[in-house]
Symmetry: C2
Subunit: 155 residues, 2 copies
Amino acid sequence: MKASARTTFTEYLQGKKLRKTPERYAILDKVCDMTEHFHIDTLYSELEAASYHVSLATVYNTMDLLIDCGLVRRHQFNNQPAQYEKVSGVGNHHHLICTQCGRIKDVKDQELLKMMNARRYPAFHTSYFAINVYGVCSRCQRRGKSKSKTTKQKQ
Amino acid sequence: MKASARTTFTEYLQGKKLRKTPERYAILDKVCDMTEHFHIDTLYSELEAASYHVSLATVYNTMDLLIDCGLVRRHQFNNQPAQYEKVSGVGNHHHLICTQCGRIKDVKDQELLKMMNARRYPAFHTSYFAINVYGVCSRCQRRGKSKSKTTKQKQ
DNA sequence: TTTACTGCAAATATTTTGCAATATC
DNA sequence: GATATTGCAAAATATTTGCAGTAAA
């Protein structure tokens, strides 16, 4: 759904009187190619790998715009670097985060989502929500209680 | 409930054959005094203000221990610095996060909590969960759509 | 007495910012 | 032509780490 994302973005940029630069669209396109959660430097590397050079600052700036127009969401689990995720079509999902290895798994839980979507809070205008379930994934359980410090990952 | 927290901590330290240093208990005590969410440097400042000097490194280390033994939880909303919160007695609560001013409000929602507590996920051993609702608080709505960048706060 | 823990300072990692050059409108 | 946006490098922020000295066991 690259086309519809591009349309949304264009409308957003026009609405805010921001410029439609090639860099912004290149970043959006690459974001649409990402299938899972990703970190800024992953996105940056993929752009480089595709011989499309943009500065990191521009990547950060553009991600802010994409978040603002609702095409992307930013997550920060534990104290890992921020992760981004494109907002796919309908519905929301939530995350299972392994506190041992840091792995993230998406879960769709219709009943839970339905309930959350119906929730209203006084004096608060909800735009979206995130449900994060922390625990230990099967892989790490199998490996037993290893001494590895929780969710520490250098890249 | 400082006493019970101290007991829990002592048992944890003994179980892991870690040392019971005065610094660790001083930090735990101060954490128990905190009524809301707090940042590391707030905790550090309060310790200084109470003329109890510990290094920042020790504060970070001790918080990791407190998290590990379940007395404290760490949150990271948007890309603000990490916030900590002592785990109070029973039950969980969730958070309303204002994307304009960064303010956090705790919400107790029994029905939602009951549902979440009943949830089980395949191949995953849940230890706790966090529900974050992002949106705009009444104060910021009243102020209209100001140009202030979302959740940027220097201290 | 052994060695885990502390404090300090330096290192690391991520994100932001300032500014001159460039490109959109 | 005016100025928003870019790239680059430097700055800012938060957290971690190395190491020598100290203190808990």
